[in-house]
Symmetry: C2
Subunit: 340 residues, 2 copies
C-alpha cells in the first residue's frame, strides 16, 4: 500500500542557459533550491527557448550552456531524485500554452510591463524589439502555470512578471468557470543580491565581475585579491569602512562563524586590521564552499551521458505534468479536442 | 517494390472555423482545392488556434464549427484520400515553430504589416490588440513552413502575409547555412471574390449577405429573390445594367453555358428581359450546384464518428510532417536536442 504523499507547494525556478552559473546565482537562488527541494515539489527549467528571445543570433551560446547549467545544478547539490530538471524547448505544451495565452493579453499591456520596459531600454532595442522578447512574460506565465507553480522565486525586478501571470490565470479561471490554475506568489529571496567582485550591485559574467562556481583555487585567490574593499583604507592601521566593502559583504554571505565576522568588522572599523587578513579569511571560506562543488562538477562532467539521462528523465516527467495542464486549460477555454 | 511518387508542389490552405462555409468560399477557394488535390500535395488546416486570436471570448463558436467546416470540405468534394485535413490546435509543432519565429521578427515589422494594420482598424482594436492577433502572421509563417508549402492560395489582401513568411524562412535558411525551408508563393485565385447577395464586395455571414453551402432549395429561392440587380431596371422593358449586377456576376461564376449567359446579358442590356427570368435561371443553376453538396453533407453528418476519423487521421499525418520540419528548423537554428 502506498503512503499518500502530503501535498507540497510547487516551486518553479530556472535559468537562461547563456553562461556558467556563478556565486551570485548561488546566493540568489541555487542554495535556496537545495534547501527547499525536499519540503517543496521543485521544477527547475533550463530556459533555452526564453534565452533565444534575445539570443536568436547567438544560439550556439545557448545550446552549449544547457549541459553546463545542469552540471552547475548537480554540483551544488540539487538532487535529481527530489527536483525535476527539465529543458524548456523540449516541452511543447509550454509553447502551446503560450499561444493560447497570447490571445488573452493586449500588446499595450505587454508594453506597460515594467520589467520589459526596463529590459528593452537596457538592451537598446528601441522599436526593434523581437516579438518573442515582448511576449516573453506570456511565455513565463505558460511556464509557471504549466507546472501549477505557486511559489516562484524571483529577483525584485521580476515581480511584475508574476502579476502578469496571475492576471492571465485569473482570466482563464473566470472563462473556465472554475479554478483550473492556482495563483502564483513571487518569493524574493531574503539574502538579496550578491554584489560583483568590483563592488557593483550585480555579479554578472558580462560585467567581468563574477566568480564562477567552477573556479579553481587559483581563480578564487585572484578574485579575492582584486576584490573591492574600502578605497580609503590605505594602511592596516587606518580605520576602515565595512558597509559597501565587498569582502565583508561576502563574509556575511558565506562565513558561518557570525561572531568571528562581527569581531573582524569591529577591528576593521577601529583600525589595525589589514585587508590582507580579511581577504585571507574570505579566500579560505570560499575555497571551503567551492572546492567540493568544483570537484563534484569535474566528476559529473566525466559522465556526460549520465547528465543527459538526468535531463531526459526530468524532461519526460515535466512533459507529463505540463501536458495534463494543457489539456485542462484547453478544456477550460472550450477548445475542440479530437477524441481518442 | 513501391513506385516512386513524382514530387508534387505542396499547397497549404485552410479556414478559421467561425461559421459554416458559404458560396463565397466555394468560388474563392473550395472549388480550387477540389481541382488541385490530385496534381498537388494538399493540406487543409482547420485554423482553430488562429480563430481564437480574435475569438478568445467566443471559443464555443470556434469549437462548434470545427466539424461543420470539415463537413463542408467533404461535401464539396475534398477527398480525404488525396487531401490531408488537419486541426491546427492539435499540431504542437506549429506552436513551437511560432515561438521560434517570434524571435526573428520585430514588433515594428509586425505593426507595419498592411494586412494587420487594416484588420486592426476594421476590428476597432486600437491599442488593445490581443498580442496573439499582432503575432498571427508569425503563426501563419509557422503553418506554411511547417508543411513546406510552396503554393499558398490567398485573397489579395493576404499577400503581405506570404512576404512576411518568406522573410522569416530566408532568415532561417541563412542562419542554418542551407535551404531548410522552401519559399512560398501567394496564389491569388483568378475567379476573384464573389460579391454578397446584396451586391457588397464581400460575401460574409456576419454581413448577412451569404448563401450557405448547405442551403435548402427554399433558402436558395429566397436568397436569389432578394439579390441585388440593377436598381434602375424597373420594368422588364427597360434597358438594364449587367456590370455590378450580382445576378449576372453569379451567372458568370456558376453557369457553365457561357453562350447562353452572354445572350441573356445582351437581351438584358437592350431591354425586354425581366429580372425574374434571369433570377429563375440563376436559381436553377445554384440548385444544381448546391443540391448534391447539401445531400452529401446531410449523409456525412449522420456519421459524425467517420468525420472525426478523417480529421484524426489527417491530423496524425500532419503531425508527422510538421514534427519533422520542426526538428530540422531546430537543428538549423542550433538548438539543443536531447538525444534518444
Amino acid at each position: 500500500m502506498s503512503v499518500p504523499q502530503p501535498i507540497r507547494p510547487v516551486i518553479l525556478t530556472g535559468d537562461r542557459p547563456t553562461g556558467p552559473l556563478h556565486l551570485g546565482h548561488y546566493v540568489g537562488s541555487l542554495r535556496n533550491r537545495v534547501a527547499m527541494q525536499h519540503s517543496h515539489r521543485q521544477f527547475i527549467l533550463v530556459a533555452d527557448a526564453q534565452a533565444l528571445t534575445d539570443n536568436a543570433d547567438n544560439s550556439a551560446r545557448v545550446r552549449d550552456n544547457v549541459v553546463e547549467v545542469v552540471l552547475d545544478y548537480l554540483s551544488v547539490g540539487v538532487d535529481p531524485d527530489a527536483t525535476v530538471i527539465c529543458l524548456q524547448s523540449a516541452l511543447p505544451a509550454l509553447a502551446e500554452l503560450t499561444m493560447l495565452y497570447l490571445n488573452l493579453v493586449t500588446v499595450a499591456r505587454l508594453e506597460r510591463n515594467p520589467t520589459i520596459k526596463a529590459e528593452i531600454q537596457m538592451r537598446g532595442f528601441g522599436r526593434d524589439i523581437p516579438a518573442g522578447f515582448l511576449c516573453y512574460p506570456v511565455s513565463q506565465a505558460a511556464d509557471i502555470t504549466g507546472f501549477r507553480a505557486t511559489v516562484v522565486p524571483v529577483g525584485e525586478d521580476q515581480a511584475p512578471m508574476i502579476e502578469q501571470t496571475n492576471e492571465i490565470l485569473r482570466r482563464i479561471n473566470r472563462m473556465a468557470g472554475r479554478d483550473i490554475l492556482p495563483e502564483a506568489e513571487a518569493v524574493i529571496p531574503r539574502a538579496g543580491r550578491l554584489p560583483g567582485l568590483d563592488g557593483r550591485a550585480k555579479m554578472s559574467k558580462s560585467l567581468g565581475n563574477a566568480l564562477s562556481l567552477s573556479a579553481s583555487a587559483q581563480e578564487i585567490a585572484q578574485a579575492v585579491k582584486r576584490m573591492y574593499t574600502d578605497p580609503d583604507h590605505l594602511k592596516p592601521s587606518d580605520p576602515g569602512r565595512v558597509e559597501g566593502n565587498t569582502v565583508f559583504t561576502y563574509l556575511d554571505a558565506f562565513d558561518a562563524d557570525v561572531a568571528e565576522v562581527e569581531d573582524l568588522k569591529a577591528r576593521y572599523r577601529r583600525g589595525g586590521l589589514g585587508d590582507s587578513v580579511v581577504k585571507a579569511r574570505l579566500q579560505a571560506v570560499l575555497l571551503t564552499l567551492l572546492e567540493p562543488i568544483r570537484e563534484r562538477r569535474l566528476e559529473l562532467a566525466r559522465d556526460r551521458a549520465a547528465v543527459l539521462d538526468i535531463l531526459r528523465a526530468g524532461t519526460a516527467q515535466a512533459r507529463r505534468v505540463t501536458q495534463t495542464v494543457l489539456e485542462e486549460v484547453r478544456e477550460g477555454l472550450g477548445l475542440f479536442t479530437l477524441p481518442g
